[in-house]
Symmetry: C2
Subunit: 118 residues, 2 copies
Amino acid sequence: MNGGGDHRVTARPPYYAVIFTSIRADGDDAGYAAASARMIELAGGMDGFLGVDSARDGIGITVSYWQDEASIVAWRRESEHAEAQRRGRGEWYAAFQLRVCRVEREYGYTAPARPLAE
Amino acid sequence: MNGGGDHRVTARPPYYAVIFTSIRADGDDAGYAAASARMIELAGGMDGFLGVDSARDGIGITVSYWQDEASIVAWRRESEHAEAQRRGRGEWYAAFQLRVCRVEREYGYTAPARPLAE
């Protein structure tokens, strides 16, 4: 999966985050990239989906944000996603960890606009 | 911060995760990299620190894992870290979000060893 995502979501805590860290197995970069993009698209249509952030740089880290735990369960069971999970275990990942978390509090920062150089 | 980290931690849920997502401001890559490496080193010596995963790929995502909320508060207040936070706002980040989460459940996967090709 390529880096990117929404960077910020607008839900107020509490909501949920799924932290998925992974080490890729060698091979099938194109198939993996296509499946990753499709999963982002598919998740975006699920009830309760709030956003996703993702980066890969040695380790891959994808954090998806959800309104509640029921939304996460529904996503895990979604049929096309279930098939991608099966291929992930069989082909794409050497290892992964998945953590389901309750977001307790959050804050953000945006730098003030800088004046244009003259 | 370069990608990497422990990838897996051994604590049993519940424990805590701090999800820090960021967009870098332009410039001072060397200073930023040095400070990031120093923060990882410093966090590793804090009570309650369990591990860290980090990747930057457009967006930066650093997830640090902690035994409890008190450990997170102590880390936020650590003096050298507080100075790095100040520089982060002033110089290094165009924007960031910080989320404090309670890890409710976790599971992992490691691919079975593959036989060597003959």
